[in-house]
Symmetry: D3
Subunit: 238 residues, 6 copies
């Protein structure tokens, strides 16, 4: 099967890191197509940028020429899943929901450790729409900007481990979600140090996309009806 993994920011290096993470977890017979939006922010760290990303991802994916079997929206806490689910019949998996559902299968209460505190509100919103805030023990931020996560991976890991420990010890979490697509490579390290399972959203989303395709499940069009054919001024934007 072919899974499109869409980065939400315009930074090609992040797209490549996400692609590698996706490939690592995917089955041998799964082809990963990683795409970068044509417009928007180099790192998405707020709702304004996230809405822009939602449109940029819809724009980019809808212009793909080859067919695909599933779409992964690879931005943690970002907008856009409902729009993609309307545009396509294939399953669309958002890494936020993928990580949260996965965590619920292996633990009781999860915590999210993300990049910047300024994004906690929108992460909370996504979890609320998913309906899994009741199993969320805490939302924590390492206070490291997205693009610095890879610049100094050691510092990033140290800060994430600190917050993850507090989430486990003080907040009662028993699973940690890495709340940023750019943290893709750090799961094992954090897990080794904190001692509870750590879920990476990109890996979770690719695995769940495969699971859905293997079950021949598609997006419910009753839930996400295909847009009616109508002229759209200025669309596509890219």
């Amino acid at each position: 099967m072919r899974i499109v993994v869409a980065n939400v920011n315009t930074t090609e290096a992040v797209t490549e890191a996400i692609r590698q993470q996706a490939v690592k977890v995917a089955s041998d017979t799964t082809e990963i197509v990683a795409v970068t939006p044509d417009f928007g922010a180099g790192s998405v760290e707020g709702n304004f940028e996230s809405y822009l990303a939602a449109v940029a991802v819809m724009d980019r994916v809808s212009r793909l020429e080859e067919p695909f079997d599933a779409v992964v929206l690879a931005g943690f806490g970002e907008h856009g899943k409902e729009g993609l689910a309307e545009l396509f019949d294939v399953p669309v998996v958002d890494i936020t929901e993928a990580a949260a559902h996965t965590a619920c299968l292996i633990g009781r209460r999860y915590a999210v450790v993300t990049s910047l505190r300024r994004t906690l509100g929108q992460i909370h919103d996504r979890l609320q729409l998913i309906g899994l805030t009741g199993r969320c023990a805490a939302l924590r931020a390492a206070e490291i900007p997205v693009l610095e996560l890879e610049a100094d991976e050691d510092r990033a890991a140290t800060r994430i481990v600190e917050e993850a420990r507090l989430a486990v010890e003080d907040d009662g979490a028993d699973v940690i979600l890495l709340g940023c697509a750019g943290m893709a490579g750090l799961a094992e390290r954090v897990e080794a140090e904190v001692g509870v399972p750590v879920v990476d959203g990109v890996a979770a989303a690719v695995s769940l996309a495969e699971a859905l395709v293997n079950q021949n499940l598609t997006t419910s069009k009753r839930a996400y009806p295909t847009p009616q054919p109508k002229p759209l001024k200025g669309w596509p934007l890219g």
Copy 2:
């Protein structure tokens, strides 16, 4: 004070109807500036179109040259409030939240009567983020497309009254929200026939925006932090 009222679709006639509704409820000293997005759908009836509208409205309002005291997002159940709230310091009032909060002041349980069933999911999402689903008795659709609401106002009123009655009799609602900016002129008529208060989102949002400005209240930047200065590829889009 000056309030910007942003239509979410590209249809100027709808913008004009919204403007008239806003002017009707506003104080004499309030100036209404109604704007139409430069791109997007002629009527917003789904998440894909709504995300596009969110960005188009942010694009349009951020290019306004004159200062303003508040922004009203005049699309019922549409995306975008959080982005606008980040971009500006002045209060941003979404007509969905305005109508829901207003209904809670005068009744116990409200119902929404909107245009098309296909938009119920996203209206539900907005109400869930607002935190007022617990007081929502029902979401109902008249199954009339947005642009036909004004084409045949009698038929629209008849259908809305039918659904509103069911919401009151069967679902236990005691206040009705008109779930579409294009229904602006119908509130009195529905109220007269159904016998419970009917809240129009545009009127509610303009009134609440005035209330916030009168209290010198602004958007909490702790909740909606101003975007960090960073280059945005392709922005503004319009």
Copy 3:
């Protein structure tokens, strides 16, 4: 329009302070009629006193001879709104609900800072009935009795600022509600020191009452039916 603002305690000085706060935020064309109950406690700091106040306010307002367009119940966390809403057709706005709904328009999560810890339970009850506990980050008390708030305003402000800061830093609040009608004059000062918007209940309620009247909205009699005509032993009590 004419808005009746009802103090819940029998202390005329508090009524006057509330009146001034109401006048300050009201439009030029709004007349504020402040009333004091004829019986009850000099300060309402518990459910027993609050139930007494609820009846005293209903008693007082129902004996008013001039017509009015709205009623503001100016006691934070106090009982009575549902009774007033049954007695009158005009909108009745409780300052607790007014403050909570207003906070939700400009932020994500609010905290209440009130006078005494002993009143937190009843404040929680009111917020639960309103349906907005899900957006409440914390209920905190400055531990200053109501009537001492004005006696030593500096100490009051200092203590309120301390608790407000903890609500923001530790509890994640991004808007503060002053949880006592007697704190009316302190909003600006607390806002300046804590750096998030501060909502005063009296100002919020007067503004929302104006907003409702401007929209021609009245209490839903389906939600709050007018009492049936029947003899009431001993009523009115005042």
Copy 4:
């Protein structure tokens, strides 16, 4: 032990019916003292009357001269429990909460069948404060005024059975609560016809009051602090 059972309306015949119901379920060693408020409505069918009753009951019970071990507030869906709990150290049991907690012990989801639809809102409020709306399948009204329940007991029973059946068949209830102190004698009859357990609030409250006294449990003063000594204008009212 001595249990005070307080009727909420001023009709002595209802007090006597409640007393008989209380005596029927109480242990041999329990003395029932039934009291009638000195002011208020002959039947309580709304919030205005209910607030008045709350104060009248507090007034009446606080003037009792003999000591007592528990208080039962015998009005379904009525205000006042929190005030009584502040005034006295002994347990105070409201028949609404007694019935709801009792139902949860023997079934999964309960329904309330009360007198008039106009009281459903306040019953809902009480259940929400108790925290058991999640186990409430339905609130239904027989549409028979309180004082007619005893005038024509057959008609009352017939109507209550009809609504109880709908609650079981359509709403999924498996226990029925009789939502009015005046329905005290009808439980067995309804149970025989509908086939699920029927809980009478007065019986439930007396039994739970006995249970609390037997466990030496008293009201938590941390939850319901004793009113501070302060002059109360016009109190007691009776």
Copy 5:
């Protein structure tokens, strides 16, 4: 009446302690029959052991030859209530639900102090099924194994008091539940030191069972239908 009180572990000394606690609170006319399961763990401290206990208790109680009027499941946070409720027509009261419902009658928010942290998850699950997590302030563990509670009662009391104090001071609890049948004798001591009511589950369950029997209430068979007659391989197991 005769009440069967079923210990969940195989330790006879615990059964005897539970029996004494039950006898202490029961009416003179109530006979307590305490039973010990024939298989399972000497102390139940986890879900695996708890499921085993659920079956062992059903096995043991269903082999009783004398009739009984109610069953008390005397394991805090343990599985099994729903199975017992299906097997018998008489009321079945689980000490977890008994303690939680009792606490809600006398306070606003309760906390549980149990033996080991490893059992907090299953206690949370039971409270969630009961529907009273909304009134739970905290779940805390003294970190003392069940069988050591009686070995060194002083140390147990000290640790429980410490956690109970934190629950009251830091978490806002106003009633404490002793979250382990083996803590039966410590309620008075903890109450004296912490200053809020302390509920013992066994006492609460026996009292509520008496209350239900006194009201002639039985298990709702609509909620817990009697098992259909069918061959069961290997049953009974004991």
Copy 6:
């Protein structure tokens, strides 16, 4: 990888049907080991039988000699997941949670169509523990006993389709869960007739188990701690 799929009833034919369903969806490199409990009911249709099944499955799986990578608990709405999760380090996936989480990825609101109404309560309990009742539109029963599902597959399909249609049309569901392991083969047929995605629990659980193993995720031992070594009277039972 090797996945153990545990039937909850003692009927070998059901085990074989479940095994075939599991094999159908599993990857080529996944080995399915289907097991049948040694004691219990031929069909599990209630809590008593379900608790027995929980223990029988734990008993059976813990006596397996070959290693395995995941366990699937193949009973819809049945007890036991938490016990299995304590006993083993590998992921344990219950088909109820698997189906519910899967449904949430492809739709907004799911409905369950199960065998008998008498099992709806326990299905509701499981969904509540999972935390996904907020996204559940309805629980419906075809009123066909488990063992008759395969005896007359046409009748079963007809009845399931009828209930599924009502769930979509009346209750607002947009995804259907087949609420019984014995319905394994009917998903495609129901989907074709009802027009929304239909999730089979066994297929979902096997796919999710594969997804977890592919991500190297194991059960959080912080959430489900390994039982402490202690003598267990009579264990194993089989």
